[in-house]
Amino acid sequence: MSADVELVNVTKYFGDFKAVDDITFSVDSGSFFSLLGPSGCGKSTTLRMASGFEHPDQGELRIAGLDMRNVSPYRRPTNMVFQRWALFPHMSVFENVAFGLKVERLAGQEIRRRVGELLELVGLQEFAQRKPGQLSGGQMQRVALARALVKRPKVLLLDEPLGALDLKLRLQMQLELKRIQQDVGTTFIYVTHDQGEAMTMSDRIAIMNEGRIEQMGTPQEIYDRPGSRFVAAFIGNTNLFDVEVEEVADGRAVVRAGEIRFAGNTTPGVALAPAQASIRYELIRIGAASEGLPNRFEARVRDVIFSGSSVQYVLQLGNPPLEVLAEVHYDGSQPLLSAGQVVTAGWSDQAARLFPTASVPA
């Protein structure tokens, strides 16, 4: 598989502020790639550099093997879906989608055919003559997508396109975006701060923080083996707490937090010093489910948070109490625990991941 987009040591400043700090990645042709991170992490700037609206101060940017240094946005083989869609309010849906083809001076018949195809792909044939002001958010979203895809770009850039939609529509559009991406086979680069969105749709995700890429991999890799404390906290729900490392060898370490002593997998930089442990909510087992696990402790239920398909228990382990959250699947077959109850909680040898304590407190 060849790479469609390559960034090599790209850095971008806004004044004195380093928005993007020496990032390097490549996106495989035909794949769905997400840039995920909190706001201000440099993900949108990275996307805008790919589109040509911003220029890297250092480093190299190649699209389809060609250096993009002096190529303006309107000549790049990329098209963009903007955050608030940026539809042309004075044009109908048809004219919006046809805009990019008219600029190319294609024949009217060809334009009608291709616009028709795209409107069919996004299911908006009946709305061709409407103005954007007469459409719902989801429909405008589709128009923006059709308008960009009709140009048959090598790479489609999407800048938080679902951010302005309500939750239900967002979930529905996620599936639809993925379907369209697989249908047309175009490379998608998708910028979002919503981990759920990135996890659902992406083949690969790059997690960004403060202008740098923290980790890159498939959604499962990132979820199962977060490479840093930031990634562990950002993706999914996890218990993060301070521990003291007592033994460390071959990627494993034994750590202690108060009376609680357990072993976990280390990440680079963990030494015989304070560290942080991460254990995901759903990896903590309670009661009978914890039997046979190597790390088992007596726990007091402090609080019960019921949310339908799952229950979260706030547990206190040992003395002084270490508070952790455990998430248990709920199907109604077992009675809920109640606050004050004393149970056994435990986790497997692979559940805990250990990170070096950041030298600069976050």
């Binding site: 609206f53 946005p73 098209n79 955050q83 539809l87 309010p89 190319e104 140009k151």
Partner: protein, 299 residues
């Protein structure tokens, strides 16, 4: 129990009172304006309307009902010429102002530096700050045969004889376009500032160069501002009096000037009908520009 009985009675009553009094505060706020308008606009208009049916013969006003003056405005070529000249002057001034104002507004918008924008705005606004009489005499000096404009053009070798720039239509047009510029620039500028910048980026991203972006996106979306500016400009130019009288040098006879002369001659009927015609022209302008606005609007 008692509360149950009283409660429903209080509810609707208080609501009704609020409903009846709701119009009072706005009315009080509007009262000064309405009174002034009635006294200073509606009453004179009615008086004028009455005078317009009177007759003026051999230097005397006759209070007999007559449609004579209206007939003259309708069929006399002399009045046709005046009305046509008035419309032509307003039209040329509007076109001139838009041609100068739109690029100016565009430049102001694209500069994007608040400090520069502020000073440009002051500069554009400056003609209004200066009294119309002072400004007009200033222009007569600048545009005179021996004035600096002609001097520079002659020294530059672009002309041999001085251009006739003042005491004719040219001088009036230059001065009016100068003073109406802010009325054209600011509505256009406002419509540009309101444009979502990502819309322009979207057009660029889809392959449009700057000219296509301007023609297909920026211009259509700022057209409402342009039409509003042109509307103000045209209406103001229709009623312009001081500038044509000073800079026209008696060669530019527009309707307001004619009305002024008629009042000086105590020819009330001609003045009245002239005023009526001006009013109708202004109303027609507003109406037709609004029509234009509807076409350009985003539906």
């Amino acid at each position: 129990m008692a509360a149950d009985l009283i409660g429903p009675r209080i509810g609707p009553a208080s609501k009704r009172r609020r409903g009846r009094l709701a119009w009072l505060p706005p009315l009080l706020l509007l009262a000064p304006t309405l009174c002034l308008m009635a006294y200073a606009f509606v009453l004179p208009l009615l008086t004028f309307f009455r005078f317009s049916f009177h007759k003026f013969e051999r230097g005397r006003l006759q209070e007999a009902f007559s449609l004579d003056t209206y007939r003259r405005f309708m069929f006399d070529e002399y009045y046709h010429a005046i009305i046509f000249d008035t419309l032509r002057m307003a039209g040329i001034v509007t076109v001139l102002s838009v041609l100068i104002g739109y690029p100016l507004a565009y430049a102001m918008w694209r500069i994007g530096r608040p400090a520069v924008q502020k000073w440009l705005a002051v500069l554009v606004f400056s003609p209004i700050i200066v009294s119309v009489v002072v400004r007009s005499y200033g222009w007569t000096v600048l545009l005179a045969d021996q004035g600096p404009v002609n001097y520079i053009l002659q020294r530059a070798g672009m002309i041999d004889d001085p251009l006739r720039l003042v005491y004719n239509l040219t001088g009036v047009l230059i001065s009016l376009a100068h003073v109406f510029l802010p009325f054209v620039v600011f509505p256009i500028y406002t419509s540009m500032v309101r444009l979502d910048p990502t819309i322009k980026e979207a057009a660029e991203d889809l392959g449009a160069g700057w000219w296509t972006v301007f023609r297909r996106v920026t211009l259509p979306l700022t057209l409402p501002g342009l039409v509003a500016g042109a509307q103000i400009c045209f209406t103001l130019a229709l009623g312009a009096f001081v500038t044509p009288s000073i800079l026209g040098g008696g060669r530019v006879l527009v309707l307001p000037l004619h009305v002024y002369r008629a009042t000086a001659d105590i020819n009330w009927p001609v003045a009245a009908v002239g005023g009526m015609v001006l009013l109708v022209l202004s109303l027609l302008t507003v109406a037709s520009f609004n029509r234009l606005l509807r076409y350009s609007e985003v539906r």
